[in-house]
Symmetry: C2
Subunit: 496 residues, 2 copies
């Protein structure tokens, strides 16, 4: 049997707009940074898609044997202001506990974000740094940029001097934008009177008196510009130049473009070798956005409690659905597509379950090495998860054929197929191997199925006037903490 070739990995580098072989700077180490959530509101499904994309990358790199340091930040600097109407005096007199505390909001949404990541079975990053925990690093970076002449102070704020930087470096290289066009199209009015050019962006902002989050700095009591935290934290933990930086496509400009400029201006090094961007999620063909009323939360998705949802879908169905599309393509969310994914995942999980009961039949009718090879090739071709899933469905077809007695497969073949599904479906794609994964929250569904089976048997016994059996079933369930309720609509159950 042919040896399976496990590499090399090719990924599309946004910087060069080409598919390139991935060669880490310090093998076997890989440094990977992904822009995380802003924790002042709930994460929406489009964000989840982006995080799942890089979860797959992390899992694949780990599967290939790399030692990955995966950093995903939390943006917790917020722009809440004091209740201005109350008047300065009243505010000053108010006890600390009566005042709005941004970190309380941060904690709430950070916890919520972590719950969602757990629900969708994402692996934890190795470091999850917060912007507020890296003020000193950010202030240091501003100082270096100012010292190198690529930023200037104006009225307590510090601005990055884009035209000056563009004289020497390629501002716009990542997003493909041209300086002239950018100037023509500029509409940003914030800090306009302080900026030398409309393209300049704040790397430190002086806070107005009502701003709640502010820190001392050489220029003013203020807060860092939004682009700065990722530059400071990625290089702090991964080195001045590191392997991979990922994020949603909407972050390419200005956020990531500015990250490059900041690093080059501060330290003279381009920070990132491979830039990767995940594409957007649309809903019924329209962009997902709160203003469109289609930006549903993961919770609404699970419960089906949203006008655009025909029913609830499990987190694993959503994950499977997303992976059936390449990360660089737009993905459209619709009930029809979700239900197709649900059926597909169910079919796959049933086949995986069958693997445990398959009876070996001497002979091996299929070339499993070739199937495995195609899985590797799919993932190494820019993380082509839809092709990988198609190959796994080929595996499903094989399992069903063997089960139906239409194909021979010996014990070794069955074990190999089992190994393939465990590593590719569970470890790499991160589909959870729990029962009932396709239509509910794991054990909950299996439990529900089992209880309903007992309810059915009890009804059967009652119909036959076998009340003793009916009562015995009820009692056994009570002992397990499960209470049956007979209603007009039939029997339901709940926990004790």
């Amino acid at each position: 049997m042919a040896e399976v070739k496990k590499g090399p990995l090719f990924i599309t580098n946004t910087l060069t707009r080409r598919k390139e072989e991935f060669i880490p700077l310090n093998p076997p180490h890989v440094g990977m940074y992904v822009c995380g959530p802003t924790v002042y509101s709930d994460v929406h499904l489009g964000n989840v898609r982006s995080f799942i994309t890089f979860d797959i990358l992390y899992r694949w790199l780990t599967h290939m044997g790399y030692k990955v340091r995966y950093v995903r930040n939390i943006t917790d600097v917020g722009h809440l202001v004091d209740d201005v109407d109350a008047g300065e005096d009243k505010i000053a007199k108010r006890a600390r506990l009566e005042q709005l505390e941004p970190m309380e909001i941060v904690q709430k949404y950070t916890n919520g974000f972590h719950d969602v990541m757990r629900l969708f079975n994402l692996r934890n990053p190795n470091i999850e740094p917060t912007a507020t925990a890296h003020l000193i690093d950010q202030i240091g970076m501003v100082e270096r940029i100012v010292k190198n002449g690529y930023a200037y102070e104006a009225n307590g704020s510090v601005y990055f001097d884009v035209p000056k930087y563009a004289e020497q470096y390629a501002y716009g290289e990542l997003s493909g934008r041209k300086i002239d066009e950018l100037i023509a199209n500029t509409r940003d009015t914030e800090g306009m009177e302080e900026k030398r050019s409309p393209l300049d962006f704040a790397i430190w902002k002086k806070a107005d008196p009502h701003h709640l989050m502010k820190w001392p700095s050489p220029w003013s009591e203020g807060f860092p510009g939004w682009h700065l935290e990722c530059s400071a934290m990625s290089t702090k933990y991964l080195g001045r130049t590191f392997d991979i930086h990922g994020g949603g496509m909407d972050l390419k400009f200005p956020h990531h473009e500015c990250e490059i400029a900041q690093s080059v201006a501060a330290d003279g090094h381009a920070p990132v070798r491979y830039w990767m961007h995940g594409n957007m999620l649309t809903v019924n063909g329209r962009k997902m956005a709160k203003s469109e009323g289609n930006g549903f939360t993961p919770e609404e998705l699970l419960t089906g409690n949203h006008k655009l949802l025909e029913k609830g879908y499990s987190a694993m169905t959503v994950r499977f659905f997303m992976l059936q599309c390449h990360y660089a393509s737009t993905l459209d969310f619709s009930n029809a597509a979700m239900q197709a994914a649900e059926k597909g995942l169910e079919r796959m999980m049933k086949a995986v379950a069958l693997l445990d009961t398959l009876k070996p039949v001497p002979g091996e009718a299929v070339d499993l090495a070739a199937l495995e090879q195609r899985c590797y090739e799919a993932m190494n071709d820019d993380l082509n998860t839809p092709v990988m899933i198609a190959e796994l469905f080929e595996g499903v077809r094989i399992i069903n054929s063997v089960n139906d007695g239409n194909m021979a497969m010996d014990a070794h073949g069955i074990a190999r197929l089992k190994g393939l599904f465990h590593s590719m479906l569970f470890d790499v794609l991160g589909i959870q191997s729990t029962i009932g994964a396709t239509n509910g929250a794991n054990d909950e569904t299996a439990l529900d199925g089992l209880v309903k089976e007992f309810i059915r048997m009890r009804a059967e016994a009652k119909a036959k006037k076998d009340f003793a059996t009916g009562d015995a079933i009820r009692d056994r369930l009570v002992a397990l903490g499960i209470l049956l309720k007979d209603t007009k609509e039939g029997t339901t159950w709940e926990r004790a």
Copy 2:
């Protein structure tokens, strides 16, 4: 029926060594700070006990209608050093990714800590600040202490001047220690040559070159003294003087004593009105400690995978066990005590389950208002959870009597009893209302029970040569992702 009197709450204030009525500074707000974990190793069961104590306090204050801001910190400043043997040059040349990164360790143990808190059903604090995210605040506090003359710099480090402080303030008031005795007993040699008095403690330490975590400051590249973070973060989020500060008894001295001194020296205000300390957990009468080999982790406890454990115990059993002892008393962990708690919780959960099936019988033989009143009195008496649990067992006795037809209770009484258990057992004591809570991981146990019931029925059918029924049961379970395996020892099951 008499109205239930819901207050006032009395708590033992370590500062005054008396039980005092709790009166918040800014009602209905309550500010509460608890010393959290150091995230450079696994949390052990003694820590868990302490956190559960303050979880109960948080739940009770919330139950009483207070708006609590609960802050529990994460100590993430660590003292890892570079591999000194490798030589300075080699270390300097090593890529960032190849170097030990303290924040990677911090992330691992923070995640683990959160998992444990979730397992034991603790509520999340409102703010969970980290020491590394509050360097600026800590440096500011050192500056104020120096400015006020209660600290001095020596060789890049800054020490708190205890004798100077003690001239004006009561150093030792919390722990009851006397300055003279402290001096006589001092054994601390760290920084001895720089300190003016052996009692002085570092509030800023200059880092040696191999120290991995260090920050710029007016005195040196260094790191804050351990006592400082709690002073800076508690007052930042709760105000210069706040209501309650909690922690394990081992933190009373020097940690909390130093916190008081730092706040007074920096800002002239005693920081805390009510100090509360939880007592220790011993194992078979001996102090729990890693060096004693009895400091088992929550995971070992659950699996029973430790030489001192006869079997595994569920998280809810442990929680129930801990709450059967008053927080200010030493609690001894033994297999016998755990098994008693397991049985007790099981008995209680079965009675709660019965509440849903109780048939009302006209009349009300017991005074439920009196029972409710005694629950309130127990909790208001310094969080006396063992008395509260004893009262709930009185409720269990009533439920069982009604169920056996030995006591009258109308529908209103049943509803009231149900409400009492839901609020006191589930909300206040934080026992999870899931099935099988007493002997396994929630749903898992119920699932196992149900599957075993099917296995039993299948065996029964087979014994009667009714193979069709036996096979039908097997097929239905497979459809739910549950696979039966017939072995010599009997039938077992596993997931697909």
